[in-house]
């Protein structure tokens, strides 16, 4: 519990209306989109300008109070859960789109802008910010940068990192630093803006973001295909790309979550298939037509069931069903362990086969969905964390899946970050020397370790990190 004096001072800094300390308010900031992590802060502050952010951090440093930055709280890694209490610094009231520059193809935004609102504003000017985490209706630009998010479109367009031109960041001691700039080319010193991109709120609070934009593609087409087995679907994707078509999105769901496609695909197809692929090509209308035909022809070699959406309304229905995956799979069990590994594309089928074997061995249900185009997968193990024994088996299975991904040359997290959820694997996934460098960087930028403490690396700390820890009253 922090001193009430600190809460008073926060009120003076940010104004009464921007400080929340009632129990019900704290409770609302105790969770993210995972169902394993929960811990309430002592106070929530919603600054409305960067000067306030700076003062809040200075106050926290002086008093060694933990500060957990938070945007929309849609992450799935425990990242925004204030596991050590203290202050939640929520950026949702820093929500101005400061500039959209069509001539220079850049935008300047505050961190609390919701991605969907940003996209709407860009679309009005025929512009496009490709990274599309599927949580776009709730996630904020600060969260997108802090998690270096990606989504289906990243197959063709790359992840957030590729679009960050510059950042303004407030360091733990309150110093405001400007990094990078407005131009796409900038070779002036170390790439410090990249250091904060994907830093999960542990190095500084991102208070302003300069992003590179693209002209919006003139046309797009969505192709749906159903397959009898995973391996064939994987081969199909490889053949499409080998045929010189780089789709903007290639997504995959298995039959655990076909329910959301009922009414969109014929029942016979859903009942007899294992996997659905959703493929989108985009660009100039002529290119899109030609590429659609190529994709269709390639799919036809491997499956009889293919459909090209006639218009964007039909296409959006398929994408909506894909987006519902998280919700659908979450509703199938009390607890889900949603992994986020990435493997090289040519290892996809093998990865899925090995993971399925592992699930069978541990006798736990497993489902797969993901951005198969870039090898980023969400194997989901369904369990119940109230049933210790089942949960243990689920965790053992997940351990094996991650080992499998790493042994195939993959990585631990494709997009969700480490947070709390994946820290027990970090040592396996990273070179010890790399962890060492990261810790040194942390010491330089946040010597008192007040920023998002408890995240990324497992600490030898006194507070045990326990997924069952619930402490709503702080």
């Amino acid at each position: 519990m922090i001193d009430s004096n600190i809460i008073d001072r926060l009120r003076r800094i940010a104004g009464n209306e921007n400080v929340l300390a009632a129990r019900e308010d704290l409770l609302a900031y105790s969770y993210d989109a995972t169902n394993t992590w929960k811990h309430a802060p002592d106070v929530v502050v919603l600054p409305v300008n960067v000067a306030q952010v700076s003062e809040i951090l200075r106050l926290a440093s002086e008093n060694r109070v933990p500060v957990t930055p938070r945007g929309g709280g849609t992450n799935v890694s425990g990242g925004s859960v204030p596991i050590k209490g203290g202050i939640v610094l929520c950026t949702t009231r820093l929500d101005r789109i400061i500039e959209i520059n069509r001539a220079n193809l850049h935008a300047v935004v505050e961190p609390g802008v919701v991605l969907q609102d940003f996209n709407t504003a860009l679309a009005r000017q025929g512009l496009f910010f490709p990274p599309d985490p599927q949580s776009f209706a709730g996630c904020t630009m600060g969260g997108v940068v802090a998690e270096n998010s990606g989504g289906p479109s990243c197959l063709k367009y790359g992840v957030t990192r590729q679009y960050v031109l510059g950042l303004e960041v407030v360091l733990a001691d309150g110093t405001v630093v400007k990094l990078g700039g407005l131009t796409p080319k900038n070779r002036t010193g170390y790439e410090l803006a990249m250091l904060f991109t994907g830093s999960e709120g542990t190095l500084g609070v991102i208070s302003r973001i300069i992003l590179r934009l693209l002209p919006a593609p003139k046309a797009s087409r969505t192709i749906v295909a159903a397959f009898d087995d995973v391996a064939t679907a994987g081969e199909t994707v490889s053949s499409i790309i080998a045929g010189s078509v780089l789709p903007s999105k290639v997504e995959f769901v298995d039959n655990w979550t076909f329910e959301k496609f009922r009414g969109l695909l014929p029942d016979e197809t859903l009942d007899s298939s294992q996997v659905i692929l959703l493929i989108q090509v985009d660009g100039l209308p002529e290119t899109v037509e030609a590429e659609t035909q190529l994709v269709e022809a390639t799919c036809q070699q491997n499956t009889p069931w293919i459909k090209v959406a006639v218009d964007s309304t039909e296409a959006e229905r398929y994408w909506q069903a894909r987006r519902a995956h998280f919700s659908d799979i979450s509703s199938r069990a009390h607890t889900i362990v949603n992994e986020d590994v990435s493997v090289p594309r040519d290892k996809i089928a093998e990865f899925i086969r090995l993971s399925q074997e592992s699930a069978r061995r541990h006798d736990v249900p497993i489902s797969f969905a993901g951005h198969v185009g870039d090898g980023n997968f969400h194997p989901v193990v369904l369990t119940d964390n109230r049933d210790r024994e089942h949960y243990q088996r689920a965790l053992m299975c997940v351990d094996e899946i991650i080992e499998t991904a790493l042994s195939l040359g993959g990585v631990l997290s494709g997009e969700h970050g480490i947070g709390l959820e994946k820290q027990r694997f970090l040592k396996k996934a990273l070179d010890p020397a790399a962890i060492n460098i990261m810790k040194k960087i942390k010491d330089v930028l946040d010597p008192l370790h007040i920023l998002n403490p408890g995240k990324i690396w497992e600490e030898d700390s006194k507070i045990p990190l326990n997924p069952f820890r619930v402490n709503p009253s702080g």
């Binding site: 409770l27 609302a28 993210d32 909506q320 998280f326």
Partner: protein
Amino acid sequence: MKSNTDFQQIERFKEDLDRCTKCGFCMASCPVYREERTEGSVARGKIMLVRALLDGEITADEMAEQLDRCTLCLACTENCPAGTRVPSVVAAARADKVRLKGLSFPYRLVYRWLLPRRRMFGYTLRLASWFQGIFLPRTEGTIRHLSFFLSALGKGRHIPQIAPRFLRQTVPEVNKPPAGVAVKYTVGYFTGCMTDFVFPELGEKIVSFLNRNGVAVVVPRGQGCCGAPVFLGAGDFATGRRMADANVKAFKELDYIITDCATCASAMKDYVRFLADTDERKRDYAAYAGRIKDITEFLVDVLKLPPSAYRVAPEYRGKTVTWHEPCHLGRYLGVREQPRQILKSIPDIKYVEMPDAARCCGMAGTFSINFYELSKKIADKKVASIAATGAGIVVTGCPGCELQLIDGTRRHNMPQKVMHIMELFE
């Protein structure tokens, strides 16, 4: 864990409560979250608060205010991949709180005593309107600043005057089509408080419009308030049930129950969801719900009137008109196309669709009384959409929205005329 008997109503909607997976898809569309930007204000936060209540982590009192900050607009549900019906959970939690803690003072008086007594309510309003006339300055036209009893609604809000004669005083119980027009249907007209007391001309227009088109209209005297502010707004299910029973009885013999108020229509359709505590009520409420039709739905789907039947009143001919879709009409009743179809089909006006036509206007009855500042901010987004259309007239299908849009446009000194869609016609 608190004993389940404390949370009977929430338990009934447990499935919705459990359905939420915390994905956050509801954030961009929640009108309250868009203004407040706090987790407690969004659908996900409300679900988590109610879960915490059941887990004994917070008390009903602690939860109450956040739950009141909800317009029950259903936008979250529309965007929820899990189909979580958040408004049901919110209404149920309000109801359990009322059962545990009782209603606070002004509501106790108004909801338990006044609203269920239709005539008494009318007299009280009349009294209030005299005071209004004596003590308060008139504003332009028939719009006045209202205080006193309506100060709850008021707080400086622009509110239309209470009508000098209520609809029930000007329209007979049975209204037959004029001589020479064959009777195609006989329907009941549920007038709702607003049309009865504030906009009786609208009611008169609707009756004569229907009569002219071969529909006999019965305005049962036994009808009362739909109960929305009582059971949905304040969570008083017991009083709500009394009001529901009275309405069901009043319309017993009629094939259709026509409304001009989307909120009344959807609240009455929701009797069965919230208030049916016995098998008999379940049956009666469900049968009642099946007969309710919004006026535009009736005209388009049942009467199937041709465009020529919609004769635009001379003063509105040639005007540009836009449509605000009430939450209760679009998302609750699924009536989206019918009013647009009417508006698009009439040659005498120019119809423009407003951006985000279906976004909540922020009225939501009790909500706008409790949180007028917040309600105004939500309305400001709506007003900006209206301005963007360049239309001279905004029509809608709910007198509640009408009040809010009148207030919003006046506050911004905008010239638009705000009215019910049926007022466009002769």
